[in-house]
């Protein structure tokens, strides 16, 4: 299953900005975070295809997953 993973802000440090990855079917957002050694407590905003999701959401072929730490501004 090919998915695109995008990382932002401090999550990019020592990792990447964007990567296309082949994950096994049934992979969840939590699984991706674990593979990237992103502590769940640091995950702020998680989106698949521009919609907010939770950790237990399973990815599907062609999805784009975006992971941000807790952020604010305005």
């Amino acid at each position: 299953m090919i998915v695109t993973v995008k990382l932002f802000a401090s999550f990019r440090t020592g990792r990447f900005d964007i990567e296309t990855v082949d994950y096994p079917a049934g992979t969840t957002v939590a699984d991706v975070a674990d593979r990237l050694r992103l502590p769940h407590s640091e995950l702020g905003i998680m989106m698949i295809n521009s919609r907010h999701v939770k950790l237990d959401r399973e990815l599907a072929e062609g999805d784009t997953l975006a992971l941000f730490p807790l952020l604010g501004g305005g």
């Binding site: 995008k6 932002f8 802000a9 401090s10 990019r12 900005d17 640091e42 702020g44 905003i45 989106m47 295809n49 521009s50 919609r51 907010h52 975006a66 941000f68 730490p69 807790l70 952020l71 604010g72 501004g73 305005g74």
Partner: protein
């Protein structure tokens, strides 16, 4: 802060200063002060540029103390842009200095005859109003440089550029930062035009010989402030994200969420957003010898600002905020940060609101005055505003006027004030705030983005209508209160998530005044401010039919969510029903 100065600019024989006690306004500061004074004293049908309007300048309730984050200055009046009541606040040094000088408010009243231009000097010895026609049509950077030669580097400066003197409806009032750059602006609603109408070019604030304002209970205040600062440092938004990347960290978030208005609100995503992002901006600033971490006033521990240099390492402007990078960037199809920085400098220098101006340029592009994505044309249009040409005066009067002059249907304004950087079709909660706030479209009035998108302080689905009315109501009440304290609104990220940090804020307010403050007291203050503002607007002719978004938000779905604004009129009418 035990006195109010009233300066009658139209008095017979020249401006007259009267300093009196606080009277019915005792205990107020910031937005509570400006809005209660305007609501009580300004005729609701007054012409905003006439003698009947007043410009109320007020530091927050905790400004001028040793408390962290207390440097917001509120300016209030009847807005020439919206016709509503207006409160616009800024950071910089002015609030702290004015508060230490003992003024809870300085109120500019009346209007002088003739062409003379004035500067007002406020120091420990009192207030002087001085004719200085050598300042005519000077813009903010050279103006402050000239004033510094006379009044030194220890003062704080408030000023208007050429836009304010020309009474353009987008005109701002600049406040200097700790390094005396005129970069922090009371931007929204044309407050600079009101100052210009009163022929006041600059206010010089010098607190030499004055002390920090003393709390009633100094030990408790110190303890509460320490806990408050600990809370801000501990929270990821105020302790990490904002210091490292500034407000522009939001570009990637909003673009990813499909709520980044692009090419004058035609799409919710911008293909070149990465080039404008906070991550890109911070790295560029650091690589050019600038800084991605800078405080707009002394005592700020969040440090969300920065310094933007050109490729040769020369100062261009302060770090452009998210709203500015959006309005001059993606909203106009522009993806070059150097162009945005140049436009940010022009805005600060001539003294105009970056949101209103950027949105206006996008509307002008929609009218065919330039192509979307044409950097040079955007700069050329802004130079028209700087020169005060007839076209520049139209553009400098904002998006609503420009849309009317050039026959544009898609004009993103509420109560004639331009929408900020969040599309209400993809983020329903912020649409509720835009529609119903007393200020005209304003994201800060009830920042539903926090809960809808950032998942700070709760979780409400941005694409659904459920929970949005209550969310916007509660945020608008809390914001009206925070805007009265002198605290930077960014503290909200930490106090919404951390009860102990909210308690520390209550303890700061309580120990300073020698009382016990509760959450209920804060809510009561917020409601009092909003009620006064709503009452003024009602008397000025505003009804529930003005609490709506432009029709295109209801009729044109936007990609990628292909959704319109879904809130029903009857729901919007419930926001202030508490």
């Amino acid at each position: 802060m035990d006195k109010i100065a009233r300066i009658d600019m139209g008095a017979a024989g020249g401006p007259k200063v009267t300093v009196g006690d606080l009277g019915e306004y005792a205990g107020l500061g910031g937005r509570a002060m400006t809005s209660l004074v305007v609501a009580a004293e300004v005729h609701p049908l007054a012409h905003p540029l006439g003698a009947e309007n007043k410009l109320v300048i007020s530091p927050g309730m905790l400004s001028g103390t040793t408390g962290s984050m207390t440097g917001r200055l509120s300016v209030g009046c009847k807005s020439p842009l919206t016709g509503t009541i207006k409160e616009s606040n800024a950071g910089g040094q002015a609030a702290q200095v004015l508060a230490r000088l003992g003024y809870a408010a300085v109120i500019l009243e009346g209007k002088p005859e003739g062409d003379d231009l004035y500067k007002i000097v406020i120091n420990k010895d009192g207030i002087q109003v001085i004719v200085d026609n050598s300042l005519k049509l000077m813009d903010n950077y050279p103006l402050v440089a000239k004033l510094r030669q006379e009044y030194g580097d220890k003062a704080a400066y408030m000023s208007i550029g050429s836009a304010g003197e020309r009474k353009l409806l987008a005109a701002s009032i600049a406040c200097t930062d700790p390094e005396l750059r005129p970069t922090r602006h009371c931007g929204r609603g044309g407050v600079g035009a009101v100052m210009g109408a009163k022929r006041v070019k600059a206010i010089i604030l010098d607190d030499a010989g004055m002390k920090m304002r003393p709390p009633k209970d100094p030990d408790a205040y110190r303890d509460a402030n320490r806990k408050f600062v600990e809370g801000l440092r501990k929270h990821p938004v105020t302790g990490e994200g904002l210091p490292a990347y500034g407000t522009n960290v939001l570009t990637n978030v909003l673009n990813e969420a499909g709520g980044y208005p692009t090419n004058n609100f035609k799409s919710g995503q911008f293909a070149d957003s990465a080039k404008l992002s906070g991550e890109t901006q911070a790295a560029l600033e650091i690589s050019r010898g600038g800084s991605a971490t800078h405080g707009c006033h002394r005592g700020c521990v969040i440090q969300c600002s920065g310094i933007y240099n050109d490729k040769d390492g020369n100062y261009v402007t302060k770090q452009p905020e998210y709203e500015t990078v959006w309005s001059h960037g993606g909203h106009c199809g522009i993806s070059n940060l150097d162009t945005v920085a140049k436009l940010d400098y022009i805005d600060d220098n001539i003294g105009v609101d970056t949101i209103e101006m950027g949105v206006t340029i996008g509307v002008a592009m929609d009218a065919g005055l330039a192509e979307f994505g044409d950097d040079a044309a955007a700069i050329r249009l802004m130079e028209e505003v700087a020169k005060g040409t007839p076209l520049g005066r139209v553009l400098g009067s904002g998006a609503a006027i420009t849309g009317k002059v050039f026959g544009v249907e898609r004009v993103p304004v509420v109560k004639d004030q331009a929408l900020p950087a969040y599309d209400p079709r993809a983020i329903q909660g912020i649409g509720v705030t835009y529609a119903t706030t007393t200020q005209g479209a304003d994201h800060t009035a009830g920042y539903a983005i926090a809960t809808n998108i950032l998942k700070v302080g709760g979780d409400v689905d941005p694409l659904k209508t459920e929970g949005q009315i209550e969310l916007s109501r509660n945020l608008q009440i809390a914001t009206a209160a925070i805007d009265s304290t002198g605290m930077c609104l960014f503290i909200a990220f930490a106090i919404m998530d951390q009860p102990e940090t909210f308690q520390a804020l209550l303890d700061m307010l309580g120990s300073f005044h020698g009382i016990t403050m509760t959450g209920d007291d804060v809510v009561a203050l917020g409601k009092k401010v909003l009620s006064a503002e709503r009452d003024f607007n009602a008397r000025a002719g505003f009804t529930k039919h003005h609490d709506r978004l432009p029709r295109f938000f209801y009729n044109e779905p936007i990609a990628p969510h292909n959704q319109t604004f879904l809130m029903k009129d009857e729901e919007l009418d419930e926001v202030f029903n508490w």
